[in-house]
């Protein structure tokens, strides 16, 4: 026979929680009421922090900041599926994932405040510093997972990046290696609709980003990224699969960046208010809230208390951040090498000359 089908794949789309707050019981992942409350708390903390960080930037108290608003479910839901020793490699917007993995929130302010100590991840937390060039950490995800496999650490790696990153070579190279060496990694592509100003449909001619996974020999799943249960369910599935040695997964979270790309951006130049308003109706936190109210996991009183606590937590982080004395100029020399070469010592001394 001259022609035959030699490969076939289907891309699934997962949604557990509908925008009106009802769940598909068959798809609902196993989560206790306390765990659901924790998911909600983490998302609310990320949102509250985000709002604060935006204002701090406007007041000149931190530098350029990339808002996470709208993507809390994608990040919290996926990161929540990890165990203590697992890794995450975030990109610049993944603060909700970092908060879920217990990065002290004042450190995010410190980093965004132009202080390198904010990227000095505390011992015991397997979190890479935020990656700035969009995609360059995708290959690192593969490498960390590869080491975990070779060293029999059982740790799973979760890498976060956006729809824009999927256009860069690093994405191809990282996913291809991951497939070839069957490493325990979960790639989370947060498709938030835009890479700065470029809409997703101009980023790739493919219907989904998830389908790319199949060309590397592993599974890709598209999920409703504003549905924290779907994000969690897909991540849980992928993490368990990875831990059993069954290789990588690509999860595409379809979500929406509610804010500007960064505090230096003005999204009104390239997208309509109507589009933003449409997505606002699908807010991930409000969607979960509807579910929780229906299931008596949240009421007005408990919401108020929770919100007050979270606000206090964020304010406390701001205080901690602002009480940290400025870094010393020597700080930029100290970590260039394990042992400082003579020429760097000489250069460092130049800073101390009088006059």
């Amino acid at each position: 026979m001259p022609k035959k089908i030699v490969a076939n794949f289907n891309v699934e789309y997962w949604q557990v929680l509908s925008p009106d707050g009802n769940v598909d019981k068959k798809l609902m992942p196993e989560l206790s009421p306390d765990e659901i409350k924790e998911l909600y708390e983490l998302m609310l903390l990320a949102r509250t922090f985000d709002d604060k960080a935006f204002h701090l930037q406007r007041q000149g108290r931190i530098g350029t900041y990339l808002p996470v608003k709208g993507q809390e479910a994608s990040q919290v839901g996926t990161a929540y599926a990890l165990d203590k020793n697992d890794w995450i490699l975030p990109s610049g917007r993944d603060i909700a994932a970092c908060i879920t993995r217990k990065l002290p929130i004042h450190m995010i302010l410190l980093y965004r405040g132009g202080d390198a100590r904010g990227a000095q991840i505390p011992e015991g937390l397997n979190i890479f510093p935020f990656t700035i060039p969009s995609s360059t950490h995708i290959t690192h995800c593969t490498g960390v997972a590869w080491a975990s496999k070779l060293l029999k650490q059982k740790a799973v790696v979760m890498g976060y990046f956006g729809d824009g990153a999927s256009s860069r070579g690093d994405f191809h190279e990282g996913l291809n290696f991951a497939g070839v060496y069957k490493v325990p990694v979960v790639f989370v592509c947060e498709n938030n609709g835009y890479a700065i100003s470029l809409p997703r449909e101009k980023q790739t001619a493919a219907e989904t980003i998830a389908q790319r996974a199949f060309s590397y020999g592993f599974e890709g799943i598209q999920v409703d990224g504003n549905d924290v249960f779907a994000a969690y369910a897909a991540a849980k599935y992928a993490v368990e699969k990875a831990r059993k040695g069954k290789g990588p997964t690509l999860i595409e979270c379809v979500t929406y960046r509610m804010g500007d790309h960064s505090t230096a951006d003005d999204a009104t130049r390239y997208r309509s208010q109507e589009e933003v308003a449409q997505w606002a109706k699908r807010d991930p936190i409000e969607t979960l809230e509807k579910y929780m109210r229906k299931n008596k996991l949240l009421d007005e009183k408990s919401k108020k208390t929770l919100f007050e606590n979270i606000k206090a937590k964020v304010e406390e982080a701001v205080t901690v951040y602002e009480k940290i004395p400025p870094p010393q100029p020597e700080d930029m020399f100290k970590y260039t090498y394990a042992q400082m070469p003579e020429k760097l010592k000489e250069q460092m001394e130049e800073l101390n000359f009088p006059g």
Binding site: R168, L198, P329, D331, M332, F333, M348, G355
Partner: protein
């Protein structure tokens, strides 16, 4: 004559050249609808359409690699790399291909493209947004590297770069993008590549700088009474050795200021050329004031990293009192 800043002058150069030469095509991230993250290409997509001002997917290798192919096959692409640190990923394309195509094909193919990159620090920018990679580029055979320091030169140099038969990396000083303003003629003119500019004549010492650092060097020198000859390099590669050597022969003393790291920075090459051609005219060892040999720091420390008035004047005193 209109008073423009560097952003506006570059925009004007692109606008005028694109009108004149239909083979010019702009490629980059966010350069069309958004007008560029620094608004350098603002309004150009409206004027020339989506086919000539292209919002590409997020891929610097895609941008530069495609630009190479376009350039070989009859277009004049002007690519924009959004931030300086994102220039590292297409280095393979620049070094292995753009810089070599003429050599490899013995002149059969050439690569007349321009890659525009905002560069340098001092703007409270993010990590990898404040790089000064000019020395790495200058070390690469086959490409030209141009750095304007003001709007007049920005327009004239960019037009020359676009018309040049070889690949040109055009580094735009981010820190002074909107700070330096001057009269820029509406009419067409060019500033030649490969020619340094004597900004101010002097007899007692030669001070060489380029890009944003030129402004801060000039300000520092205004605090001294020494008669300094100030040279704006303008083209980093190929460098204008003649102007530098003639000046140093006249003054006998030289200070070079750049914000890139010191080791193998461009100052090292300039000093080598001065040593080769004017060693016996020197009254003092040449001093260099540079960034340090560390990754560009996060912004709370960038004031210590960047050459400042104190460090520039200290070097000036050192060569004058040697």
């Amino acid at each position: 004559m209109a008073i423009l800043n560097i952003v506006q002058a570059i925009n004007l150069a692109l606008k005028q050249e694109m009108k004149k030469d239909k083979t010019i095509i702009l490629l980059g991230e966010d350069i069309g609808k958004n007008g560029g993250v620094f608004r350098v290409t603002d309004g150009l997509q409206k004027l020339y359409g989506e086919e000539r001002v292209v919002d590409t997917p997020l891929s610097e290798i895609g941008i530069v690699g495609s630009a190479i192919g376009m350039a070989v096959n009859g277009l004049r692409p002007v690519a924009e790399i959004e931030f300086s640190g994102f220039l590292y990923s297409p280095f393979d394309q620049i070094i292995s291909h753009a810089g070599r195509l003429r050599t490899r094909s013995r002149g059969r193919f050439s690569c007349p493209l321009v890659i525009r990159v905002p560069y340098g620090g001092g703007i409270r920018g993010l990590e990898l947004h404040c790089e000064s990679p000019e020395a790495i580029l200058a070390h690469t055979p086959g490409i030209k590297v141009v750095v304007p320091s003001g709007p007049y030169d920005a327009k004239g140099l960019l037009i020359s770069a676009i018309r040049d038969p070889d690949p040109v990396i055009f580094l735009e000083p981010l820190r002074t993008y909107r700070v330096v303003k001057e009269e820029v003629p509406e009419k067409e003119y060019t500033v030649p590549l490969g020619k340094a500019n004597i900004v101010k004549e002097g007899t007692e010492l030669t001070v060489i700088s380029w890009g944003a650092m030129l402004k801060y060097t000039q300000e520092a020198l205004s605090k001294t009474n020494y008669k300094a000859e100030i040279i704006d390099l303008r083209t980093i590669s190929p460098v204008d050795t003649e102007t530098i050597v003639n000046s140093v022969k006249k003054t006998g003393r030289c200070v070079i200021v750049h914000e890139a790291p010191r080791t193998c920075g461009l100052a090292a090459e300039l000093i080598a050329q001065i040593n080769e051609k004017a060693l016996l005219n020197l009254e003092a060892p040449v001093e260099r004031v540079t960034g340090f040999d560390v990754p560009y720091p996060l912004y709370k420390l960038e004031g210590y990293y960047l050459p400042d008035e104190k460090r520039i004047l200290r070097a000036v005193e050192k060569v004058m009192k040697f």
